[in-house]
Amino acid sequence: MKSLIPFWNILVKDMKNYYLKPPNISWGIIFPFAWMLMMFIKTKSAFDINQVFPGIVAMSVLFGTTSMLSVTITFERKSRSFERLLLAPIKIELLVTSKITGAILFGIFNSTIPVLISVLYFKAPVANWFFLATGIVFLSIISTLLALFISVSAKEVFEAQTYSNFYRFPMIFLCGLFVPVSALPIIFRPLSYILPVTYGVDVLRYSIDSTNNLTPLLSIIVLTAFCLFLFYLSIFNIKRKWIL
């Protein structure tokens, strides 16, 4: 119970200091809105919301979480305020969980804009709200953990952002965001399945029109395994790199 006090306060501090700042809130709204608009303009009359919906939701979550977490972690490390957290008697697992929770919630918030626009304006036929929510939550967690993994290795915010681009942009094409994995050249398909976002997008596809490649349960199991792997790998790296 006592450990919940630092957990909650780190989360609240991050929310106030970073995520709830007007530029970030507006970014969280404008970014997915701009993507929706771009798709709408590009496809004009033949706008198939089912096709673009998983991609836009996934991109909003992916870019939102990865950008913000790399800022909060790298910035705090550079200003040495992260040192203050490491000096507190909090287990490192709890500390990392509280740091990433803010980014996960930010990712979920980012996804609400495309979901609302798709459902309310474009009448996207969500078949399974539970799996839609599950997919978004998992996408948010996995994107945050990818950002954490990168942030632990970066010294500067710009470094973290640059490294993030190395996986963010290929993921747009390889993870079935807009082009289904089954439509990719066969040579790229194995690559798709070693990227965790593929499984999150597949769950989203199941929730909207059941055009998924894997069963949602299998995708969730794989996503859980990826989450655990990235979480402990990041903790291992923090201990190795930051606690000299």
Binding site: K2, S3, I5, P6, W8, N9, I10, K13, K16, N17, S79, R80, S81, E83, R84, L85, L86, L87, A88, P89, I90, K91, I243, L244
Partner: protein, 273 residues
């Protein structure tokens, strides 16, 4: 290593006979750390920073709020309580950083160069705070390059050279060990008397003392034994000098440091720069 920012490579960490070498998180409950740079949150106010730091130690909301107010008052920061940390002056930042390190009432406080780069008023205030904390029973590990600060504040001093402790003892013992002779300086009003002649007479009367005219108005006297000042002052008065000051020159911790390490202070400062 002790505070958990580096892995313990050798030795053990004991707290009250309990081996905490492998449970540094438990040890951190008893520790407070003042880093060499103020590492609080720029976007938060002084009050919010203190409350947040207390929360990291699991202190409940009401208690941490009360403590934050008490500390802001004690550190004369009440008026700046709601100002953002980034708007604080360097001295205020330092004080708040110390307050943040003691809000959970640590039994051991680590302070890394707490007064470096601060104005005189802040330095004096911080030194008084350190003294007060020590009086209240907090054990303080103070790292400093200001050797006079160590002499003034510390009971035991570890002299470190090239990363190794080369001597550890009380300030008095360290100084005493390096004392080679007793030195007294006697100052007098400027006059037109023949000082060479008078010094010659002085030498005849006090043959056990070594003496030198330091400048036109000061004689420096040294001896292996204790120096009795009264007969010297009387003698000089009889010779027509108007003595206005006589003081025993005590060796300082700096002298002890130079002698023990063989490093001149100036060289050390240059190396640090």
């Amino acid at each position: 290593m002790l505070v958990g920012m580096a892995k313990i490579t050798s030795g053990k960490l004991f707290y009250k006979d309990e081996d905490l070498t492998k449970n540094i998180k438990k040890a951190q409950r008893f520790f407070g750390v003042v880093a060499d740079e103020s590492n609080l949150y720029d976007e938060m106010s002084g009050y919010e920073n203190l409350c947040f730091c207390a929360s990291l130690f699991g202190i409940p909301k009401k208690t941490r709020e009360r403590k934050a107010i008490e500390l802001l008052k004690a550190f004369q920061l009440t008026e700046a309580a709601n100002k953002k940390f980034k708007a604080y002056s360097k001295g205020m930042k330092r004080k708040l950083t110390i307050a943040a390190a003691i809000i959970h009432e640590p039994r051991i406080l680590f302070m890394d160069e707490p007064t470096t780069g601060k104005d005189i008023a802040s330095v004096r205030q911080i030194r008084n705070m350190i003294k007060d904390l020590h009086k209240k029973g907090t054990t303080i590990f103070l790292t400093t390059h200001y050797i006079e600060e160590a002499e003034r504040l510390c009971e035991r001093v570890a002299l470190i050279n090239k990363g190794k402790i080369i001597r550890i003892d009380t300030v008095a013992n360290l100084i005493e060990q390096t004392r080679e002779s007793n030195i007294t300086e006697i100052s007098f009003e400027e006059n037109s008397l023949d000082k060479n002649m008078i010094l010659e007479n002085f030498g005849k009367k006090f043959s056990n003392l070594e003496y030198v005219l330091k400048n036109e108005t000061t004689i420096k006297i040294s001896s292996k034994e204790k120096i009795d000042i009264a007969p010297i002052v009387n003698h000089l008065s009889e010779e027509g000098f108007w003595v206005n000051d006589a003081k025993l020159i005590k060796p300082t911790l700096e002298d002890a440091f130079v002698q023990i390490t063989g490093i001149e202070i100036d060289l050390m400062k240059k190396e640090k720069k």
